[in-house]
Symmetry: C2
Subunit: 199 residues, 2 copies
């Protein structure tokens, strides 16, 4: 069965985004691109990490990671991710509002799942085949899958940043049994930590 992975860019105090995420500030207030500077400023140094993030055969994300709107769909909106999203694979979006799939350039299809996290995972597993399923975020979605014991490998990319408020990883996940995998490493902009989640 597919391995379920999760990569999260996170502040040293455990936030994956600041408060009040919006169209202008998808990572919330106070973040100012600091959680992902390593991706934009040092892509070569982290090439292997960046590849592994998008290597999955299918992705799952919360609705807030798909777009800033809430409630009924704004059908003009096709995500933060531009015409050709970086996923190049099926992406399952958790939502309470039904919507027809949206096909993007480059092989990314957004499929909207209203039946909950287990249903989304089952669909993603089927779409991924032998490849991994990645829980793409945000924190609320990751926390739900962690609490359900559904994530096999958690890869944290810790920026030397203190956000102080926002979306917090690990909130309400219970007692998760983690085991470091490989060696931690990093640059001035990020430290990469990988954990196996034992069941």
């Amino acid at each position: 069965m597919s391995k379920v992975t999760c990569d999260m860019a996170v502040s040293l105090d455990g936030f994956t985004a600041g408060p009040n995420q919006s169209l202008d500030k998808p990572f919330g207030e106070g973040e100012d691109g600091r959680l992902t500077r390593w991706m934009t400023e040092e892509p070569e140094a982290h090439a292997e990490v960046l590849e592994s993030i998008t290597a999955a055969g299918a992705f799952i994300m919360g609705r807030n990671m798909f777009g800033p709107s809430r409630g009924d769909w704004d059908l003009e909106w096709t995500g933060w991710w531009g015409d050709e999203p970086p996923y190049h694979a099926p992406v399952f979006v958790l939502t309470h509002h039904e919507r027809e799939p949206v096909e993007m350039k480059g092989g990314t299809t957004f499929t909207f799942v209203t039946e909950g996290i287990e249903a989304a995972l089952a669909q993603a597993r089927e779409a991924a085949g032998d490849a991994a399923v990645a829980i793409a975020g945000g924190a609320h979605t990751v926390n739900q899958y962690l609490a359900a014991g559904a994530i096999d490998e958690l890869r944290l990319h810790v920026a030397p940043v203190v956000l102080g408020a926002g979306e917090r990883l690990f909130e309400g996940v219970g007692d998760v049994d983690l085991e470091p995998v490989g060696k931690p490493w990093g640059t001035d902009l990020v430290t990469h930590l990988t954990y196996r989640v034992n069941r």
Copy 2:
């Protein structure tokens, strides 16, 4: 002037202790020794880190790190740390209740400071001479010194543990400018991360 250092054993979700710290559970509920297993089970692997923790010329700690009592002093109590505490140096204890200094075996003297964090730091600097001053904890004390911009080097020892509640590092410290120092490293029980705090 003395460098001000701070070593903190911390869970992956940012707690330095679980909730409801008490005489029986100095690290609070749910911690069960898991934040400091690396110290007790792998002292050789981390010998250099352990030495650097106690290398300072003077230490500052919050009252809750000195003992479980609150309010007026129980004068029978001389700390969690046994007859010969591991500090072997002057230790300044932040408190609102005056008390005469307590001299322990091995060179540790607990001096009780009621005039606040700046006064304690001034006394510790004087006692330390050219050696470092270490902010020993707990989280509340460290957060006060971080918010005051008084810590030069923060050394986090991150256990692969999710506590979910308790005393949280970085709470209310504002926007701290951190810069990784050296390379992160660790074992299955802990990851060591060092940061310079820029002013």
